[in-house]
């Protein structure tokens, strides 16, 4: 049975100083207190630790052994704990961050690289997943914080919002994109509900929900099913499909700014009120962020603001 660990601390001092009196002073207690501690420890481990002699104590072999095993622990633990409770004033260590697939792929490499040029003690573990998976992992304590995107409608937020602190990082506009040819030939430039639901659609797999949301947003009607002719994991591929005129797909406006300018791709906005996708930083409300987390988050926000992500057209 494990002895009272606090007595081991007392023992450590008594042994190192070879004196109960000294140990008492060191530990800010009185000599009888120390004496009793040692005695009880001896009873607990059923072994004598010191032979008591006039004005001195002689450690036994058992004491030698006990000291050898206790010493490294006692001597390191306080400094180590100081590092936990009062982390160094430099960010360091592993940051476990979750991010949406597109956003993470596009922006995190550059941002993390820039951050590490300033704080080279920080390492990253970036998890690219869907928002609800990320929120789950956040709730399990597997991630320090996550970046998620969710539509402006509040009910789309799957997590347990009451536990989460959400900071808006930036917004992007979701558009239904069509190639110029497709828009002119297949749709005859019409954007009515009836026309739209009969078209061909391309999604990047995981979220046909975004399509439904788009329709609901503009027409306040549920669509039971749409004609998804292709679901492909890569958003790059999805855009290529649109360019080829395979059909319609929802994407972020800023990803196709140039092609909208040149008129190669047509963004379809049935009404003025656009679908906004909010990209936000989410962390557990009742966990106070570490210095490293705070620093990175501030850096992230600054970068996004400075670089105007998503970029406005010139």
């Amino acid at each position: 049975m494990l002895p009272d660990l606090n007595r081991l601390k007392v023992f450590y001092h008594v042994y190192s100083l070879q004196s109960m009196n000294m140990a008492a002073k060191n530990l800010h207690l009185t000599q009888p207190g120390v004496s009793q501690h040692i005695k009880k420890l001896e009873v607990e481990i059923k072994t004598d630790l010191f032979i008591r002699r006039h004005k001195k104590i002689i450690p036994t072999r058992a004491a030698d052994q006990l000291f050898d095993m206790v010493k490294p622990f006692i001597e390191t633990i306080d400094s180590k704990i100081k590092n936990i409770s009062r982390p160094m004033n430099q960010p360091y260590g592993l940051l476990r961050i979750g991010a949406p697939l597109e956003f993470g792929k596009t922006y995190f490499p550059a941002i993390c690289h820039a951050f590490r040029e300033k704080y080279n003690q920080v390492t990253f573990k970036i998890k690219l997943e869907e928002p609800d998976r990320l929120l789950d992992m956040l709730n399990m304590g597997l991630l320090d914080f996550v970046v998620i995107d969710y539509f402006s409608a509040k009910d789309q937020f799957f997590g347990r919002p009451e536990h989460c602190q959400i900071d808006l990082l930036t917004e992007e506009i979701f558009v239904l994109a069509s190639s110029k040819e497709y828009f002119e030939n297949k749709m005859k430039k019409k954007t009515s509900f009836e026309m739209l639901v009969s078209m061909d659609f391309i999604t990047d797999e995981h979220e046909p929900v975004i399509l439904k949301h788009w329709f609901w947003h503009y027409f306040k009607k549920s669509i039971p099913s749409v004609n998804i002719i292709m679901a492909i994991e890569s958003h790059q591929a999805l855009l290529n499909c649109v360019r080829l005129g395979m059909g319609l797909a929802i994407t972020a406006e800023h990803l196709i700014w140039n092609e909208i300018e040149t008129g190669e791709i047509i963004p379809i906005f049935p009404t003025k009120k656009k679908v906004i996708n909010k990209i936000s930083l989410v962390q557990l409300r009742d966990k106070k962020p570490t210095l490293t987390e705070e620093t990175f988050q501030a850096f992230l926000k600054k970068q996004i603001k400075a670089k105007k992500i998503p970029r406005k057209p010139a």
Copy 2:
């Protein structure tokens, strides 16, 4: 400041089980008890260790770190302490033994070697010194037990006999040895006090005291000074000096049995009552010997008895 170490034990269980309830059962306490321990630990190290959620607790990064540092200690200490308090049923480890120069040199190599053939986990550190130095080291806890020789007169025992447990191992007879030539030519075969004090003496350095004792034993007279013509550290050398007829020296009778038989060396006994040198095993009275010590001591006694050390002539 070092936290209450016992709380670390509680923390260890809570973290490993990811549950306060389970930890409570494991530690034989109730759930609120564990809950309070963790809370106090968090205050002590000024860091949250768990985020409390419904029916589960989520360890923070700080908890991860704390666990990593506490785990090896907690997991090893109890097994290690078991080895201290209830040593294995096999003798093992280092035996630190003190022995008189002659006795140690002559008998310990063979005895230790034989012992190690049976118990190969035992190692030795043999200190060959004068009795009072050995007893000092015993009292300082630097030796586990010592073998010393002391004359039959009790007042020769220098140590603090009240602290020591003394077991007689064997006895040897001290003789004043002379070569046949020296005895016949220089001493004219006389062994009177007057004749003896005027002779040349050889000692093995450290103990002219033995000479004084010898005179006191046989003549009840103090000798202020004797003519020590040679003091040499090696007892072998001392005997050679005697053989060469340089003078008289005190030695153990059994070392010169053969030469006494052949008449080459004359043992001088002024009276019948011989000077007995007791070879004893001494250990601290209030230290209970370990299994290893006990085993070796028993072995030592058996060897000395079996081999009849010192050997009687055939």
